[in-house]
């Protein structure tokens, strides 16, 4: 599927750090839309082995801020014909997405999100309990008696996709256009001349380049330390788990902020489930029993009949969190160094649009208009883009 490159060239027009969805998507659009094909993608592990392969694959655009809604809606639009673009089935499946409200306060946020969404042409509605019950007949509307469902934000375009296929599709498309993907190649430092980037040190030798895009999720702070750049990014593990396959019974995607659950059923029948972040900083992908117990008990609040269903696997990824739950994208104080980070728990759905906007930013040297709300300098200016109410279940 991919060309094998035995050695690195002495230099490239652009070096991308991280062969996950975001890095490969940027490489793909650089080659396809901007004609920049002398590109290397460096990956210290294996292609798609980080958060691209560890997330719960939910795609939606029902965010809270105008910046977020416009950005993620463009992503949902790009997702629609991605399979055709790649000539590869990415198993994109539109399911409808319910964010359940168990309190009056949550209902207010749902109405707020629905209004912002509709203003920007995104199909979202605040719906009542009867609508939820019709959409998800098997749900216990009282949630075990302690968190009755009052209503929901229903987002019709909500979808899931096959995460590995996204990395493979972007990787293959970039590879066929001349981009070199080098796995098992770790960045160890940078060379600068007068504040300008001139090259990258790797475990396989030095590469001359004037442009680097960093798309390494939970490893971002380690790369930024090499350049003495400071950001608010902090890293907590985010865990997920999957059940044994069962016959199809759950069509929509269900999210509950109060119960800290999101769940969907894949094409092969497994329930993919996630919850909130681990409660403290850690740079390890170890799983915990606490997580399975907590998530399973909340799943049973909603769907008591699952009590005999087994959990098959659990895993974790390293989430690069920001204080406003929005990403950090675009130019940085180091000329030639571009950042695509702070994707925390919400990065998979943005894979196409972040690739598209970052490739534009790298090619032109100026931030794409869609990412202006996500700039590196917004914290120093106290101009945050508050997405916490729509980005997470852990609040």
């Amino acid at each position: 599927m991919f060309t094998r490159h035995d050695s690195l060239k002495a230099g490239y027009d652009v070096v991308i750090i991280g062969a996950g969805g975001h890095g490969l998507a940027a490489a793909y659009y650089l080659a396809r839309d901007h004609g920049i094909r002398n590109v290397a993608v460096l990956e210290k592990g294996y292609l798609g082995g980080g958060n691209t392969g560890r997330n719960t694959t939910i795609i939606r655009s029902n965010y809270l801020t105008p910046e977020g809604v416009k950005f993620y809606d463009e992503s949902v639009r790009l997702w629609q014909d991605l399979g055709e673009d790649f000539d590869l089935n990415v198993f994109y499946s539109t399911r409808g997405h319910y964010t359940l409200a168990h309190t009056d306060a949550a209902m207010r946020t749902m109405r707020w999100r629905a209004e912002v969404n509709k203003h920007y042409g995104v199909r979202s509605e605040a719906v009542d309990a009867a609508f939820v019950k019709r959409g998800i007949p098997s749900i216990d509307m009282s949630c075990g008696g302690h968190a009755p469902i009052l209503g929901a934000l229903f987002h019709e375009p909500g979808a899931i996709a096959r995460h590995d296929a996204v990395a493979w599709g972007y990787g293959r498309g970039a590879d066929r256009r001349g981009v070199e993907i080098h796995q098992q190649t770790e960045v160890t430092g940078f060379r600068l001349l007068g504040g300008r980037l001139t090259g990258v040190e790797t475990t396989r030798g030095f590469i001359a380049t004037s442009k680097v895009l960093c798309a390494v999720a939970g490893f971002t702070p380690r790369i930024l330390d090499m350049l003495d750049l400071h950001t608010p990014i902090y890293v907590h593990p985010l865990q997920a788990m999957v059940s044994e396959p069962v016959k199809p019974w759950l069509d929509p995607i269900i999210v509950s902020g109060s119960l800290h659950v999101y769940v969907s059923q894949t094409a092969r029948g497994e329930l993919v489930m996630g919850a909130s972040l681990d409660p403290y900083e850690l740079h390890s992908t170890r799983p915990t029993l606490d997580f399975v117990e907590g998530l399973a008990s909340h799943m049973l609040d909603m769907f008591p009949f699952l009590s005999e269903v087994k959990v098959n696997r659990q895993w974790a990824g390293l989430a690069d969190m920001t204080p406003d739950f929005a990403p950090i994208m675009g130019v940085t104080p180091v000329e030639g160094f571009y950042l695509d980070a702070g994707w925390g728990t919400w990065g998979f759905k943005a894979t196409p649009v972040s690739g598209k906007t970052m490739s534009h930013t790298v090619a032109t040297g100026r931030n794409h208009p869609l990412i202006e709300g996500f700039g590196f300098d917004r914290f120093a200016r106290y101009r945050l883009t508050g997405e916490k109410g729509a980005a997470s279940v852990g609040h």
Partner: protein
């Protein structure tokens, strides 16, 4: 880390504790620049390493200091809260980051 040894309550399951973040010194708001203040408010040391952190045993409301390796989730030592006022021991040598910028 499944058990955390609290200086007051002894070994307890980690689920009984709340994490309070890395211990950091605030710059003097009257004399520091806007950049120094925003950096203090927002920026964090996100890389793994040995860090002094605030932890609280929630059931007893007891705050204390933990020296922890955030790469391996290993508690090196714990201290009473007033150690912060009296001055924390300097950090033991931690593994150097894998690279630095060369100019």
């Amino acid at each position: 880390m499944k058990i955390l040894v609290c200086p007051l309550n002894g070994p307890r399951p980690v689920s009984e504790f709340a994490y309070g973040g890395e211990i950091r010194r605030a710059p003097d708001p009257d004399t520091c620049t806007d950049e120094e203040w925003s950096s203090y408010v927002f920026n964090r040391s996100g890389s793994p390493g040995l860090k002094y952190e605030w932890w609280c045993h929630v059931a007893s409301g007891f705050w204390f200091v933990v020296l922890r390796d955030t790469a391996r989730d290993l508690v090196i030592d714990t201290f009473p809260a007033d150690t912060v006022r009296r001055g924390l021991p300097s950090l033991p040598a931690s593994p150097a980051p894998s690279g630095k910028a060369a100019t």
